[in-house]
């Protein structure tokens, strides 16, 4: 939900910017910054979640809490950096497209880390029996959260 929320927030701001001709004739270049930075990870998540739902619709799965927190933290940092790159544009002496282009320097490592952690997160799930759901969920969050 964090990833989808972050994506829709950033995309919403950029849609507003485009509607106000913020990027002029170079709107395509701005979207070429956003989409490769988020869509691959979102596609990975959608694919894994749909596959899991189809194969084991009634099974609950859990992961290690610390692993979950690490993945969550890196994801939040990455999404924050994405949003920061967008929101700092009015204050930066660097022009928006140059700022976006330069942001790849610090976004790429975090994107790699976040995608890697998410991939590991999804394949490290353990299946729980339905009878133990209540007890397990108290200490181990589900990946859908």
């Amino acid at each position: 939900m964090i990833w989808f929320g972050g994506f829709f927030l950033i995309a919403f701001i950029m849609v507003l910017q485009q509607a106000m001709n913020y990027y002029g004739r170079d709107a395509e270049m701005a979207w070429a910054w956003l989409l490769p930075n988020m869509v691959p990870t979102l596609s990975l998540m959608v694919g894994v979640l749909v596959a899991a739902q189809r194969s084991r619709p009634h099974k609950r799965e859990t992961v290690d809490r610390s692993f979950y927190r690490l993945t969550l933290t890196i994801s939040l940092i990455y999404l924050f950096l994405m949003l920061f790159t967008l929101l700092v544009q009015p204050l930066s002496p660097v022009e928006p497209l140059a700022l976006m282009e330069g942001s790849r320097l610090y976004l790429t490592p975090f994107q790699g880390l976040a995608t890697g952690m998410l991939g590991a997160f999804f394949i490290s799930r353990d299946e729980d029996d339905d009878e133990e759901d209540d007890k397990s969920n108290e200490s181990k969050p589900t990946p859908q959260k």
């Binding site: 913020y22 990027y23 928006p96």
Partner: protein, 382 residues
């Protein structure tokens, strides 16, 4: 008097450590006497790049030859507009040769030769080697005009251009006709006729304080421009006169130059504001920057703007690539009643979120407004 063909050409100053200073542009002459019926130039390419070689003449229909280092020969002739051009998409490094002759071997006159690299300057070689002579022999056989070929190989020292002294031996540089004294010392305004401006106006003669010579006009313009904050001018040659071009500057939508240091930058800086409303407005709405270049053209020749857009990056370099001052021979040229001073304003705009700058045609403001807002008109009136 033969027509002097207009220098509708890029002037890029090129240097190579192993040679004298060379340009990628030059004016030359085919003599009636037959001693220079073909002109040959050596061209040293240091890096692989696209290359365009062009020749243009008002006096004869030119045929252009280009010989690559591996001795392949291109030729081009155009019998309709006096221009021939050869484009090599991927010119390999090495010593190339360029030859020019009239299609009609009985013709003679002046021509301009340009080498326009697409990816940076092309160093031009100073001298011909034995390979050049071999290439020349091949050209002579192909041209079918051996009896007219009188190559002055010793003088083929690369393309000499305006603004650079001719080689000691007189070289290939051709003096401008006497009707345009001093013109050879200035690079021609690119292009001529000048591009269609965003706005233009003829400066009233009364504002020029009754000048007697072009030098007086230059002094008057330069003084007014200095008062208005334009210290850096680039001078170019136009038919029987000159053009003084200001640096590209950032202006307010009303035409006044911006007050801060960003005046001479081709960027749209962020609006330093700290209120939430201003921040949101800056985040979501387009901020447009306006830029302009002003060219004062002093010539007795009426002209119209040539169609086509002006590239802001090129316009930005006009002032720096032009001469820093008017050459003495041109300064003493009489400013007759035929002369006029025309201000051409080239206006550009750029949205902050965009990468490129766009040429505004027509501009948002009149030329009078530009000159008033810039302070030039007031300085001329004083």
């Amino acid at each position: 008097m033969r027509n002097l063909f207009a220098g509708v050409l890029v002037c890029a100053l090129l240097h190579t450590p192993s040679a004298e200073a060379h340009l990628s542009y030059g004016t030359y002459r085919i003599d009636e006497s037959g001693t220079r019926a073909v002109r040959l130039f050596a061209l040293a390419i240091s890096q692989r790049q696209p290359l365009v070689v062009s020749v243009i003449s008002d006096d004869f229909m030119p045929r252009l030859y280009l010989v690559s280092p591996d001795k392949r020969v291109w030729s081009e002739a155009n019998a309709t507009n006096g221009r021939a051009s050869i484009t090599i998409d991927d010119a390999v490094p090495g010593e190339w040769y360029v030859a020019v002759r009239p299609v009609d071997v009985q013709s003679a006159g002046e021509f301009a030769l340009t080498v326009e690299p697409a990816g940076g300057p092309v160093p031009l070689g100073p001298a011909l080697s034995s390979d050049a002579k071999a290439a020349l022999t091949a050209l002579r056989r192909r041209s079918g005009a051996e009896e007219r070929i009188g190559l002055d190989v010793g003088n083929s020292r690369g393309l000499q251009g305006p603004g650079v002294d001719a080689p000691p031996d007189g070289g290939d540089h051709v003096a401008a006709p006497s009707a345009e004294p001093g013109a050879k010392a200035l690079s021609p305004l690119l292009p001529w006729p000048p591009p269609e401006p965003s706005a233009r106006m003829v400066v009233p003669r009364m504002l020029l304080a009754n000048p007697a010579t072009l030098g007086d006009v230059d002094d008057r313009l330069r003084a007014a421009l200095r008062v208005a904050g334009y210290d850096d001018l680039g001078y170019f040659a136009v038919p029987n006169g000159f053009a003084a071009v200001t640096r590209l500057e950032r202006i307010e939508p009303t035409g006044e130059p911006v007050a801060d240091a960003s005046r001479w930058q081709m960027t749209v800086p962020a609006d330093p504001s700290f209120s939430l409303f201003d921040y949101l407005r800056a985040l979501l709405t387009a901020q447009t920057g306006h830029f302009r270049v002003i060219a004062f053209v002093v010539t007795p020749t009426p002209f119209t703007g040539s169609p086509g857009e002006v590239d802001a990056v090129s316009a930005r370099r006009w002032a720096s690539t032009g001469r820093n001052a008017l050459p003495p021979p041109m300064r003493s040229q009489v400013f007759t009643a035929d002369y006029s001073v025309t201000a051409l304003v080239y206006e550009f705009s750029k949205i902050r979120g965009e990468r490129s700058v766009h040429y505004d045609l027509p501009g948002d403001l009149s030329a009078t407004t530009h000159l008033e807002a810039s302070g030039i008109l007031a300085a001329l009136q004083n």
